[in-house]
C-alpha cells in the first residue's frame, strides 16, 4: 500500500508559535534547538523541519505525546494553522502557498477532518451535520441530503438522521463526525486524535470499523494519536514525533523490531509484540507438493531428501488443500497407494499473512503446522509453534542491542 505514489508530500515544514517567528526561524536554521529558541525569543518551536511523504491510499499514523507537534502538523496540512515555512504538496499543488479562495476549494474537495472532541454543530441535526461539507460546496439540497443519508448508513446511523447530536452517545457522535468527513468524498481524511475521547471498548470498535471502512474506501488517511498501541494497530506506516521533530518513520513492524533510539524503544516497551507482528513476517518458506504433479512415492522421496516430517499440498491455483504426514505416506507407499489425495489430511489450520501473531496463538497450541496464505489465498509457507515463540524471544534481545545507537531525527 505504501509503495504507491505520494498523495501528500511535506517538505521542510516548520511552525513556530509566537510574535517574532522570522527571528526564531533564523535561529532554528542556524541550528538552535527548541529550548534555545524559547530562551532567546520566547517563541515556541511547534514543528521542526518535517519532511514526509504519504502514499495514496495509505493509513498513516502520526504518533507522539502531547506537545510533540503532531496536532500542529496535521493542521498545517489544511492550514487551520499557518505554517511558518516549508511546503505541503497535495497532488503536486503547494497548499502552504495557495491563496484563501483556492485554500477553501482545497478544503472543500480534497481534505476533510475528524476532530478529537467531535466538533459537531450542536444546533444542527445529525443529517445537517453530515451534509455540511456538501452544503459548503453548493450541492443542491436534494442531492446532498441523499448523499448524507447514504454516508450515515455506512457508519450505521441512518435511523438517527433527524436527532440532535447531543442525543447520541460519544461513540455515535464520533461516527457522525466520521460520516461528515466521508460525505464530501475528499480523497484525504485527517483524523486528529479521533478516538482518544472515547471509552476503551468503544475506541477498539471504532478502530476496527475504520480499518474495515478503509479496505472499502481506500482514502488517504492521516491519523493523529498519542496511543502507540492504536498507532501500531491501525497504521500502514507510523511516524513518531518528539518536541516537534520527526524521530522515526516506518511500518509498525519496523518500529517494533528496529527502534532508532532509546525514546522509541521506551515507547514500544509495553507494546504487545504478538499483536503488532504479522504472521507473514515469520513465515517459513517451504516447497509445497502440487496436486496432480506426481505420485505419493514422489512426494515421499521429496520429503526424505529435505528431511521433512510433513508437507503441504496445494492445488493448481496455489491454494493449500491438505497436508501430508511422512508416517502416513510411508505406510501408504508400502501398501501400494499412489493417490496423494487419499493420503493427505484435510483438516489443517490456514491463516492470512496479515494476521497478527496474537491471533494465531490458539492455532499453534494444537501443534499442527499452520499454512500461511496471502490475501488471494495462495500458499506462502508455514509457521510452526516454535517459530512463534522464537520470534518474540529474538525481538526482545534485538531491542536491547539496538537501543545503544542514538539517532536524533530522521527524514523520510
Amino acid at each position: 500500500m505504501s509503495s504507491s505514489q505520494p498523495k501528500i508530500q511535506i517538505e521542510n515544514l516548520v511552525k513556530i508559535y509566537g510574535k517574532n517567528p522570522e527571528h526564531a526561524l533564523k535561529l532554528f536554521r542556524e541550528g538552535g534547538n527548541r529550548d534555545e529558541i524559547l530562551q532567546a525569543t520566547g517563541n515556541v518551536l511547534g514543528v521542526a523541519d518535517v519532511t514526509l511523504s504519504i502514499g495514496e491510499g495509505e493509513l498513516f499514523v502520526i504518533m507522539g505525546l502531547s506537545g510533540s507537534g503532531k496536532s500542529t502538523l496535521v493542521r498545517c496540512l489544511n492550514r487551520l494553522i499557518e505554517p511558518t515555512s516549508g511546503h505541503v504538496y497535495i497532488d503536486d499543488e503547494d497548499v502552504a502557498k495557495v491563496d484563501l479562495k483556492r485554500l477553501r476549494e482545497v478544503r472543500r474537495t480534497k481534505l476533510s477532518m475528524v476532530f478529537q472532541r467531535f466538533g459537531l454543530f450542536p444546533h444542527k441535526s445529525v443529517l445537517e451535520n453530515t451534509e455540511y461539507g456538501l452544503k459548503m460546496r453548493g450541492i443542491d439540497p436534494e442531492e446532498r441530503r441523499q448523499k448524507a443519508l447514504e454516508t450515515l448508513a455506512i457508519v450505521g446511523l441512518h435511523q438517527w438522521a433527524n436527532y440532535a447530536p447531543s442525543a447520541l452517545s460519544g461513540g455515535m457522535q464520533q461516527r457522525v463526525g466520521l460520516a461528515r468527513a466521508l460525505a464530501t468524498d475528499a480523497p484525504i481524511l485527517l483524523m486528529d486524535e479521533a478516538f482518544s475521547a472515547l471509552d476503551p471498548l468503544i475506541r477498539r470498535g471504532m478502530q476496527d470499523e475504520l480499518m474495515r471502512l478503509q479496505t472499502e474506501l481506500h482514502r488517504t488517511i492521516v491519523f493523529i494519536s498519542h496511543d502507540i498501541q492504536e498507532a501500531l494497530k491501525i497504521g500502514d506506516r507510523v511516524a513518531i514525533m518528539k518536541d516537534g521533530y520527526l524521530v522515526q518513520v516506518g511500518t509498525p513492524e519496523e518500529i517494533i523490531t528496529n527502534p532508532v533510539d532509546d525514546y522509541i524503544a521506551a515507547f514500544t516497551q509495553d507494546v504487545n509484540r504478538a499483536q503488532v507482528l504479522k504472521t507473514g513476517s515469520i513465515v517459513r518458506q517451504t516447497m509445497p507438493f502440487i496436486l496432480g504433479q506426481g505420485s505419493a512415492r514422489a512426494a515421499l522421496q521429496d520429503m526424505q531428501t529435505h528431511d521433512h516430517r510433513r508437507m503441504h499440498v496445494v492445488d493448481r491455483q496455489g491454494q493449500p488443500v491438505g497436508v501430508l504426514m511422512r508416517k502416513d505416506l510411508e505406510s501408504a507407499v508400502d501398501s501400494g497407494v499412489e493417490d496423494v489425495e487419499a493420503v493427505m489430511r484435510r483438516d489443517f489450520p490456514t491463516v492470512e499473512a496479515s494476521t497478527s501473531l496474537e491471533e494465531i496463538f490458539h492455532l499453534a497450541q494444537t501443534g499442527a503446522p499452520i499454512a500461511v496464505v496471502n490475501r488471494k489465498g495462495k500458499f506462502k509457507g508455514v509457521v510452526e509453534q516454535s517459530d512463534i515463540l522464537a520470534s518474540i524471544g529474538r525481538l526482545s534481545r534485538n531491542e536491547e542491542a539496538d537501543s545503544a545507537a542514538p539517532v536524533d531525527r530522521i527524514a523520510v
Binding site: L80, L103, R104, F115, G119, H123, M136, W160, N162
Partner: protein, 320 residues
C-alpha cells in the same frame, strides 16, 4: 524641598482661578458648532424613526384592546407556554382596569421602536466587535460611557439636535439600551467553541457562511438575552424620556410627581413594572429552547390546531 511637589499640586489643582484644561468650554463649543452646522443631518435622521414610531403607535392605539389581548395570549402560548399566556393576558387586563391602557400602548410603541433601532445598530456592531479585537477594544469605552453617563447629561444636546418629542425620546432610550446588545452579541459569537469553528473552517466555509451557519445560530441564546436586557433598559428610560415631552406611562409618573399626585405616579409606575415583567418573561422564554423537544408546529395554538386536524405527530424522545 520636601514640600515642593505637594505644594506644586496644591497650587496646580486648588489655587487656579480658571481650570487648566477648559473641557466644559470645549464641549459647549463643539455642540454649538454641530448644532449650527449639522442640525439638518439630525433632522433627516428624525424622519425614518418618526415614521416607524408613528406607524407602530397608530397601529397599537387603533387595535381594539380585546384583539390585542387575544394576539398577546396566542403569541405567548405559541412561543412560551400556556401559563405565561394566561399571566400576560391577566396582567394586561389589570393595566387596562387601572386606566393606563392608552399610555401603555404609547410606551410600548416607543420601546419597540427603540429596541428595533438597537438591533439594527447593535447586531452589526456586535458582529464587528467579535471579528476584530481592535474594534472590540475601541468600542468598549464608548459602551461604558453610554451605560454610565447620567442620561441628563446627554438629554440636553439630544434635544438641541433633534428637538423635543418622541424621536429624541427614542434616541436617548437607544443610547442607554444598545450597549448590552452589542456586548452580548460580541460575547455570544466569541464563545462558540474553537473546535466548532475549526470544523466549519476545515470544510471550507467562507467567513459569511461561518457567520450565518455556525456563529449566529450558536450565539442566538446570548443575543436574545441581550435583546431582553435592551428591552429592560429601554423601559427604565421611559420616565427620563418623559422629561423631554415624550407621552406615555413615563409622563403619568412625571405628572404625578409634579402635582404631588402619588396615586397617578403609582399607576404609571405600576404600568411600567407590569409591562417590564411581561416583556421580560416573553423574551426570555423565546430565547430558551423548548424542554419538550417538540418543533414549533407541534406546540402551542398551532399544535392544538394540527392535533384537531389530525396532522400532529409526536417526535419520540431520544434514548440512544
Amino acid at each position: 524641598m520636601d514640600t515642593a511637589i505637594p505644594d506644586f499640586f496644591n497650587w496646580l489643582f486648588l489655587n487656579q482661578s480658571t481650570e487648566i484644561i477648559p473641557l466644559g468650554d470645549w464641549i459647549s463649543t463643539i455642540v454649538d458648532w454641530v448644532v449650527t452646522n449639522f442640525r439638518w443631518f439630525f433632522q433627516l435622521v428624525r424622519v425614518p424613526i418618526s415614521q416607524a414610531l408613528n406607524g407602530i403607535e397608530a397601529f397599537l392605539q387603533a387595535v381594539p384592546p380585546l384583539v390585542f389581548l387575544g394576539a398577546l395570549g396566542l403569541f405567548a402560548w405559541q412561543f412560551a407556554s400556556r401559563g405565561l399566556a394566561i399571566f400576560s393576558v391577566l396582567a394586561m387586563i389589570f393595566v387596562g382596569l387601572i386606566g393606563a391602557w392608552p399610555e401603555t400602548m404609547t410606551t410600548l410603541s416607543l420601546v419597540i421602536t427603540a429596541v428595533v433601532l438597537c438591533a439594527l445598530v447593535g447586531l452589526p456592531l456586535g458582529i464587528a466587535a467579535a471579528r476584530s479585537d481592535r474594534v472590540e477594544a475601541s468600542i468598549r469605552p464608548v459602551l461604558d460611557a453610554m451605560q454610565t453617563l447620567p442620561a441628563f447629561v446627554y438629554l440636553v444636546p439630544v434635544v438641541m439636535l433633534f428637538g423635543t418629542g418622541k424621536v429624541p425620546g427614542v434616541i436617548v432610550t437607544f443610547i442607554f439600551a444598545v450597549p448590552p446588545l452589542i456586548r452580548l452579541t460580541n460575547i455570544g459569537i466569541r464563545q462558540v467553541s474553537e473546535e466548532t469553528i475549526e470544523a466549519a473552517q476545515s470544510f471550507g466555509s467562507t467567513p459569511r457562511q461561518m457567520l450565518w451557519e455556525i456563529q449566529m445560530p450558536l450565539a442566538m441564546p446570548t443575543i436574545l438575552a441581550g435583546v431582553n436586557q435592551s428591552i429592560m433598559l429601554a423601559l427604565s428610560m421611559v420616565v427620563i424620556a418623559s422629561l423631554i415631552a415624550v407621552e406615555g406611562l413615563g409622563q403619568m409618573v412625571n405628572r404625578g410627581i409634579g402635582r404631588l399626585d402619588v396615586g397617578l405616579a403609582a399607576v404609571g409606575g405600576l404600568g411600567i413594572v407590569i409591562m417590564a415583567i411581561v416583556l421580560d418573561r416573553l423574551t426570555q422564554a423565546i430565547g430558551k429552547p423548548p424542554k419538550d423537544g417538540l418543533s414549533w408546529q407541534d406546540r402551542g395554538p398551532v399544535g392544538a390546531i394540527r392535533t384537531t386536524l389530525g396532522k400532529r405527530r409526536r417526535v419520540p424522545t431520544a434514548t440512544p
